[in-house]
């Protein structure tokens, strides 16, 4: 038995690793990082009037600090023209894009970089010797990739420019442009190049930190992901466990009532009701309850949002609990109502089929009361499918909590997930995915334990 569990746990590790890796790699493949959005924002608010160069410096230090200047993975397969130099990553994203464009177009990264630095020299000269007449041509030099317009613009700058320094710089631009054109290899991008980066890559460092228990810090709040998760998990955990327990107990009781002979009327009433409840999407159900039960216009039974206010004096345990209940009742009700139909149906079917078994007839023939037959003989035998159902509804419940926490503003994992998806806060997202997956694996293990408890024969098979 122990051996079996150890095997299951060990097999779970590669699955978790694969999932985290997939999320990490996908999140880093995306163009446009969080930092460029925040730091390089030109039209930022009133307070951020920092100069362009300051922003550039801040960006570079951010990139260096977070290791974003390193290659993504152990190796990479890219066209030979693709700029792979890690220094390039320190450039701003617009400059990176420009360099990439030129390199692909002319088939040489080296020449493109030389050309780009020469155009920057012009910009620098113009800062000391401003010249408004060149603006149009400079724009061409910055945006165009085709050779002839670039050549025209560079020539015109060299002719029109009033200051010899600028003229000199323009001539250099022209020179480098010509070298680029002479050594042009239009289809160089077709040649692939495999480069090996060794251990100095983002993935390796992220994985090593993860193995040491460091999940990184949130992009949004710069707080450790672990702290955010531990803060949020408590609310979700209690919400999930309480509503799951209530749902299971309710569905068992309802099914027992329905299979009894007297339960015909209840069955006719309850099954269609459950069928209709099943088709109401969770968010509509939650909002309907919110509008109906937590609204001054209708019935104000419950507080609407959140988890209660901060109170200055320490509340006793019971006071805390009562306050918690006030805020949790409505979310729990939603969750129970949304998962009840499916579970009740399954439990009912499983108990119903056990009713037809021979041992039930024997128990009845012995003269046992109906309640005793159901509780002592039928229930025990229909436990196996019920355990399967209990471990199966977890995903539905998790999906339900996501939506319910968002609607009722409960600060739990679900809301954290939605917020991080909206803000593209990937470190938090990876953490949440890992937590949910680990949770599910543990649930499966517990279900196995439950099987062994409900049916001792399984224990022997597993051992």
């Amino acid at each position: 038995m122990l051996y079996y569990f150890l095997k299951r746990l060990l097999l779970a590790i590669p699955a978790l690793w694969l999932m985290a890796t997939a999320v990490f790699l996908l999140s880093r493949l995306l163009p446009g990082s969080f930092a460029t959005d925040r730091i390089l924002e030109n039209s930022a608010g009133y307070y951020s009037k920092g100069a362009e160069s300051d922003r550039q410096a801040a960006y570079q230090s951010y990139i260096r600090r977070t290791g974003l200047d390193q290659p993504l993975f152990y190796f990479s397969l890219a066209p030979a023209t693709q700029p792979t130099d890690s220094l390039n990553r320190l450039y701003s994203e617009t400059k990176q894009a420009r360099l990439r464009k030129l390199a692909w177009h002319y088939g040489s990264e080296h020449n493109a970089e030389a050309y780009l630095s020469s155009t920057e020299l012009i910009d620098k000269q113009l800062q000391t010797y401003p010249d408004a007449s060149l603006k149009h041509h400079l724009q061409t030099l910055r945006a165009e990739v085709k050779y002839h317009p670039l050549q025209d613009a560079a020539r015109k700058v060299a002719v029109v420019a009033s200051h010899p320094q600028v003229k000199q710089a323009a001539k250099q631009v022209l020179e480098r442009l010509q070298t680029m054109q002479q050594e042009r290899a239009s289809f160089a991008f077709l040649v692939p190049q495999v480069s090996w980066h060794g251990r100095q890559n983002q993935y390796h460092q992220w994985l090593m930190r993860l193995l040491q228990g460091d999940m990184g810090t949130s992009y949004r709040s710069s707080r450790p992901v672990l702290a955010l998760l531990t803060e949020a998990i408590g609310n979700t955990w209690w919400l999930l466990i309480c509503s799951m327990a209530i749902t299971l107990a309710l569905s068992l009781e309802l099914s027992i009532l329905m299979v009894k002979k007297k339960g015909r009327f209840l069955r006719k009433l309850l099954l269609p009701f459950l069928f209709i409840t099943d088709s109401i999407p969770v968010f509509v159900l939650a909002l309907l309850l919110l509008v109906l039960l937590a609204n001054p216009d209708f019935i104000q039974l419950f507080p609407v949002y959140g988890m209660g206010y901060y109170s200055p004096q320490r509340l006793s345990f019971w006071q805390q609990l009562s306050q918690w209940w006030q805020y949790m009742t409505l979310p729990m009700l939603c969750l129970v109502l949304s998962s009840l139909p499916y579970i009740t149906n399954q439990v009912y079917a499983s108990i119903h089929s056990a009713m037809q078994a021979d041992y039930t007839r024997t128990a009845r023939a012995k003269g046992l009361a109906e309640g005793a037959v159901i509780r002592r003989h039928i229930l025990r035998n229909s436990l196996l499918p019920i355990i399967t159902i209990a471990s199966d509804i977890l995903p539905a419940l998790v999906a339900g909590t996501l939506i319910i926490e968002t609607i009722f503003a409960v600060p739990g994992i679900g809301r954290l997930l939605i917020d991080s998806v909206l803000a593209r806060d990937y470190p938090v997202l990876i953490g949440i995915v890992l937590v949910i997956a680990a949770f599910r694996i543990i649930a499966f293990l517990l279900a196995d334990l439950g099987y062994a408890w409900a049916d001792p024969r399984i224990k022997q098979q597993l051992a």
């Binding site: 699955a15 509509v284 909206l422």
Partner: protein, 363 residues
């Protein structure tokens, strides 16, 4: 196929609930198709700042303007036309997505059930060509074109990349055809464990809840209907595949199928003529049931405003308006009720279909 049709006709004649649900769904589909031709007083994105948060069934205040029958939302959009156009969006997204997902699930599930782990064999040489060809295709046919369009190199570069891809594939197969004649070990057949592969894939996709998976995937991509549909197709095929696999395993055991096998029919004939028609019923059940779930999922996503652009008219967007004023009940009750009705209709159809098909298979 004929039997499926006969069953549906039987249900239509005998079961009132099925007939009502089917009628409602057909009307809804018709409405979604002809909606742009209908003379509605307000468009779904038309703002009417003079009448924000107007309750339903109120007479109009301006004599020259039509009334908002079901009220308006926080910026004065008409609830009625949003509901109608929302139905159109929901159906136009869900039906193609579900069709594609069903097709994918059917192919993978039926294939996995039919071939099992040893049934699908290929020569070593073809296997090598397949693997290397996939790598080539991924690089030249997929990665490079994306990069080229991103860098803006133009059509010649694109054509060059695709041409290289085709050329490499041809060279590869030619090379292996030559090698195949010389090296005998390449001619050996190896079994591809289709069943194991599909099962692992399904297991992997269902390790984390579907909604979480979709949300995480949607966070990598810009909000767009096409990309979201792609994500949906790639995540929801698993339920159809599971069902198709189980049905296929059952069909394989049936005497008629063994008889067909024993008279030496080809794999194609076995699959297309004898297995698929019997799969049609269960797959239809999965299709209707999945469609109901997909409608709910689509509006949930647009309610959370994840994966869809905010310009998309949908039930979820309308319902999300309730957050700015919780006493505006009409913004939940009408779209939510409509959504629930539609889902209910799909579930009813699927319920009756399940009943009749399980009765058929029991004999």
């Amino acid at each position: 196929m004929k039997q499926v049709w006969q069953n549906m006709v039987y249900l239509w004649r005998r079961k009132t609930a099925f007939r009502m649900a089917a009628c409602y769904l057909m009307l809804l589909l018709l409405l979604a198709l002809v909606l742009p031709l209908l003379p509605l007083p307000y468009g779904p994105d038309e703002l009417d700042y003079a009448h924000t948060f107007q309750p339903p069934f109120e007479p109009t205040t301006a004599p020259d303007k039509a009334r908002h029958l079901l009220g308006t939302d926080s910026v004065g959009r008409d609830v009625l036309s949003n509901i109608l156009y929302g139905a159109r969006t929901a159906l136009l997204i869900s039906v193609p997505v579900m069709l594609l997902a069903t097709l994918l699930g059917l192919i993978l599930g039926a294939g996995a059930g039919f071939y099992a782990d040893r049934g699908f064999t290929m020569r070593r040489s073809s296997f090598c060509v397949l693997v290397l060809g996939m790598v080539c295709f991924c690089y030249y046919g997929f990665y490079l074109p994306i990069q080229i369009t991103r860098v803006g190199l133009g059509a010649t570069a694109l054509a060059a990349s695709l041409l290289t891809c085709a050329l490499l594939l041809m060279l590869l197969s030619g090379f292996f055809v030559l090698l195949h004649k010389r090296v005998t070990s390449l001619r050996k057949r190896i079994a591809v464990p289709v069943d194991q592969m599909v099962l692992r894939l399904i297991e992997g996709l269902s390790t984390i809840p579907r909604l979480v998976l979709i949300l995480v995937l949607a966070s990598f991509l810009p909000p767009s209907v096409v990309l979201l549909s792609l994500i949906l197709v790639l995540t929801i095929w698993t339920s159809v595949a599971r069902l198709a696999r189980a049905e296929m395993l059952r069909i394989k055991q049936l005497p008629y199928f063994e008889a067909a096998k024993s008279i030496g029919l080809s794999t194609n004939q076995l699959l297309l003529r004898h297995a698929l028609p019997n799969l049609a019923g269960p797959v239809l059940v999965a299709f209707t049931f999945g469609l109901g779930g997909l409608l709910a999922l689509e509006s949930t996503l647009s309610f959370l405003n994840i994966g869809v652009p905010t310009t998309l008219v949908s039930w979820g967007r309308m319902i999300a308006n309730i957050r700015s004023d919780t006493s505006a009940w009409w913004m939940v009750v009408f779209p939510g009720g409509f959504l629930t009705f539609t889902v209910l209709a799909f579930y009813t159809c699927s319920h009756y279909l399940t009943q009749i098909f399980s009765k058929n298979t029991r004999g």
